[in-house]
Subunit: 335 residues, 2 copies
């Protein structure tokens, strides 16, 4: 078939390219009869507008870019489903771009998007992101942006988050109420605002139970399962190991279960475990896992809905939208 261009359509129909172009974009300047002739031939010849050329003309890509660290975490996979459920209705395409937790990659992706490949952006920043000037530069181009889950607190725009302080507070209190006296807090990305909020919730729950927090009980893990295995078997082999563990990142659940299995520590009798996770298999683990379940699908829906409000020029609130997480009690914290 080859490329059918506007010019060929115009030649075949004995019209100017401007007229054909206006007919294809349903301009009021063109008669219905002419529009129908153009559309009929365009369909017959299977005409596809060149996105670069039409992007230049109408400055609309009907595309939303979703930037996030990874898709292997069930939280992010479910956020994407929530975003798509709304975008599809509005006739928008979704582009997914992954930073793999690299600040440099995030900068490159945002720079690439500055030129107008997407009408709007949804972002959950990488764990390395400490500087937000790359986001500011994008905003200066007039491209609307909404944060979800991992936000830059110094950027003024719509944000959708969950109650990280309260979730960690609830998780810690639950362990203390079930008799734990030494609760370890596992995290990966200390610079993320969500990590900070969760740490503060953890400390507050300890304080409310007249316990002081110990730096050695707040355990920094990594994205590498081999390194985590070393860190977590180290933690559980201490002279005074924790009797409660909160894994604030889904991938750390596997690590702590394996470490306990290897060291023959029985969950929940010798140590109780809570994981931040949305995995459907949480209830099938041995023992079934008590979770903080985050409202991932709803957060995706809310974030893209706020973005559409911005795209439609409607006002949005300056306050972050907070959708609460839920503590689901299962076997790993049984008495």
């Amino acid at each position: 078939m080859g490329n059918i261009t506007l010019r060929i359509l115009a030649r075949e129909l004995k019209l100017s390219t401007a007229t054909v172009s206006k007919a294809l974009t349903n301009s009021h300047e063109i008669s219905e009869k002419t529009k129908q002739r153009v559309l009929d031939l365009a369909q017959k010849l299977n005409y596809t507008p060149n996105p670069y050329a039409s992007g230049l003309r109408n400055k609309k890509s009907r595309t939303i870019a979703v930037i996030l660290p990874e898709v292997a975490d069930s939280f992010f996979a479910q956020v994407i489903d929530g975003i798509e459920s709304v975008a599809q209705e509005k006739g928008y395409h979704i582009l997914i771009r992954l930073t793999h937790e690299s600040f440099q990659k995030e900068q490159a992706i945002l720079k690439d998007l500055r030129g107008g490949r997407a009408d709007g952006i949804l972002i959950s920043v990488s764990s390395e992101t400490r500087d937000s000037s790359h986001i500011r530069e994008l905003q200066q181009k007039g491209i609307p942006l909404v944060f979800f889950d991992r936000v830059c607190e110094d950027i003024e725009t719509a944000k959708v988050v969950t109650d990280d302080f309260d979730s960690a507070y609830q998780a810690t209190r639950h362990l203390l109420q079930r008799g734990c006296r030494r609760v370890a807090f596992l995290y990966i990305s200390p610079d993320l605002s969500i990590s900070y909020q969760r740490m503060e919730g953890y400390k507050k729950a300890l304080a409310d139970h007249q316990l002081s927090w110990q730096l050695s009980d707040m355990v920094a893990c990594t994205h590498d399962p081999v390194a985590n295995h070393r860190i977590l078997t180290g933690l559980m082999s201490r002279a005074h190991p924790p009797d409660g563990v909160i894994a604030t990142v889904e991938k750390l659940v596997t690590g702590i279960y394996l470490a306990c299995q290897e060291l023959e520590l029985r969950i929940p009798w010798q140590v109780k475990v809570i994981g931040f996770s949305n995995l459907p298999s949480a209830m099938l683990l041995n023992p079934s896992l008590t979770t903080i379940t985050q409202p991932a699908f709803e957060m995706g829906k809310a974030a893209v809905s706020l973005l559409f409000r911005e795209l439609e020029g409607k006002p949005i609130s300056g306050e972050p939208m907070v959708i609460p997480s839920v503590l689901v009690v299962r076997g790993s914290t049984a008495l």
Copy 2:
């Protein structure tokens, strides 16, 4: 800052826009000294090329589109990681587009890509895809395309698959060797070539053990967990329920474990289970899950490497590349 265009750079440097453009694309026609002047000012003014305009000029987006049904399955999440590991080295961006198993959506995405938004395409087709004319139309535009995992057999192009026939044969034989006499085969998408291959492998293993296959033991499931729950509790409540189950799609593992839990059927004593799954938590399920583990990361790497060969104009073999899966024996098929 506003938009710094080629024209402004040219005016500031007292050069023609053509010269500036050639300098920015490192043309041999321009002296090193002039290139340096242009690059210095472009950097100083934070110049971003308009992707639409530069796409029109050089017809290269340095972008690869990855089209797949979903990211909630650990197989696809790991394929993406494999693709990115190679693309990043080559300085290419990855765009991820999801079909959510809809043929209509897959058509719309491919139509959108015909105009040149991506230099090449990696695709695993939706479960609804029976017709491949949308892929042919893309090929006619000269955009290279490589299939991974779920292929259209009638399209001639590079393909990366795993040994679905052999995997299902191995899984079935393993269950028969462990004493099962009635093995159920759970699937979702009957029209996919991978489903067909797996069914044939299952039937062949039964035949090699002098057992004939029963239509009622090949159980069609869905993407809806509620419907699957009904189907699987129905299966396991039959007068003569299966004593072995092969879940050929990861999401069906949760369904069959829950059905057994609810009906108080003990795995592996009353029924043995194998799942096609790459989930790290397989080993932590209760009981730990025997899996067919697919070479997802390697398949992603191989598919994108073949695409780069095509983009570089090198010849590629017409035969599908087959990377074998592995049977990992765990508690759910213990004697």
